[in-house]
């Protein structure tokens, strides 16, 4: 018996904000904290919490620095984060295939 695709979902990644962070970091390669906050419509505190969860799980790397006099925080995807994102997308597609009604012949 094959397991249900929902069993393959990672609780850390299968959360809409964290999936959004991983998606943006994957496409942008390196993304600034304020871009994530504005694009996902979060408060700074809320975004920091989610980033903390992802960083602890080793899915993102966080780098702090300065651009001129302005403090900047850059987020990038780790190799584990890349794999986790690919797995999540694959599992979501499997789930959709399961719940989509099969056209009758």
């Amino acid at each position: 018996m094959t397991s249900h695709p929902a069993n393959g979902l990672d609780d850390i990644v299968h959360q809409r904000v964290r999936l959004g962070i991983l998606t943006i970091a994957h496409e942008a390669r390196r993304v600034e904290f304020s871009y994530l906050r504005d694009t996902l419509g979060l408060t700074a505190g809320n975004l920091s919490q989610h980033l903390g969860v992802l960083e602890t799980a080793g899915l993102v790397a966080i780098e702090k620095g300065y651009a001129g006099k302005r403090a900047r925080t850059w987020v990038s995807l780790t190799k584990a984060g890349q794999t986790a994102l690919e797995d999540e997308i694959a599992q979501l597609k499997l789930l959709i295939n399961r719940i989509e009604p099969t056209p009758s012949l």
């Binding site: 809409r16 959004g20 943006i24 496409e27 942008a28 390196r30 993304v31 871009y35 504005d38 990038s76």
Partner: protein, 227 residues
């Protein structure tokens, strides 16, 4: 500022759809397609006067019953690689600056590396065709001189940029531009590289770059990016 991307719902379809929309939004933020097109249009137009240099590099050789001579202005062999390397450096600096300002990484490195390699390789290849006997049989009118031109190298690098930016509109423009380069260079070589031949080979491709740059500039204005 909140850009207002919808990212809600735990339904797998909604999650996937939101992820796709976020991906598109990041790509739109990363693009600055108009800048390299306008810079390269300027580089192309600026090359026209260098053709009038009185000196020529090249040599003559007998190929069968005919005697074939090759010639190329040395000023162009200095101008093109220098101008292109500088242009790609300026383009890279612009993308990095924009990346810092907008808060997203840039995908310009493969384009800049490919552009510089193609510019230098084209210079080496042109020198080879000017002096190597094997190249003399290829040096006449036809597709070979068209493939052997700096505007063609610019077009190939633009294909790399379209891949980096995941930009289908730029891919279409780059392929159209390459077709224009091949047609104008072939017509120019038939007319013997004299008179209007060479300027036309640069003015038409340069105009394609200029118009493309203006089009992308209008389409990628900050006010339209969120649209």
């Amino acid at each position: 500022m909140t850009s207002g991307t919808a990212f809600s719902g735990d339904d797998p379809r909604q999650l996937l759809s939101s992820a796709r929309e976020l991906t598109r939004q990041v790509r739109r933020t990363q693009r600055a397609t108009w800048f390299p097109l306008l810079v390269l249009a300027a580089v192309t137009f600026a090359a026209i006067p260098f053709r009038n240099s009185p000196h020529r590099l090249g040599t003559c050789a007998a190929t069968g019953s005919a005697r074939v001579c090759t010639a190329y202005p040395p000023a162009l062999l200095v101008y093109w690689p220098t101008a292109l390397v500088l242009a790609y450096a300026v383009i890279a600096a612009f993308y990095i600056r924009q990346s810092q300002a907008r808060g997203v990484g840039t995908r310009v490195r493969p384009y800049v590396v490919a552009g510089i390699i193609l510019a230098l390789a084209m210079t080496g290849s042109l020198l080879w065709t000017l002096y190597h006997p094997l190249a003399f049989t290829l040096a006449g009118p036809g597709l070979f001189p068209a493939l052997h031109s700096y505007p063609f190298a610019i077009g190939l690098a633009l294909v790399v940029l379209s891949w980096g930016e995941r930009n289908e509109a730029l891919l279409a423009l780059a392929l159209g531009y390459l077709a224009v380069v091949l047609v104008t260079a072939t017509v120019g070589s038939v007319s013997g590289h004299t008179g209007l031949g060479y300027p036309v080979q640069l003015v038409i491709p340069g105009s394609v770059l200029l118009l493309g740059g203006i089009g992308f500039l209008l389409a990628q204005r900050p006010g339209r990016r969120a649209a």
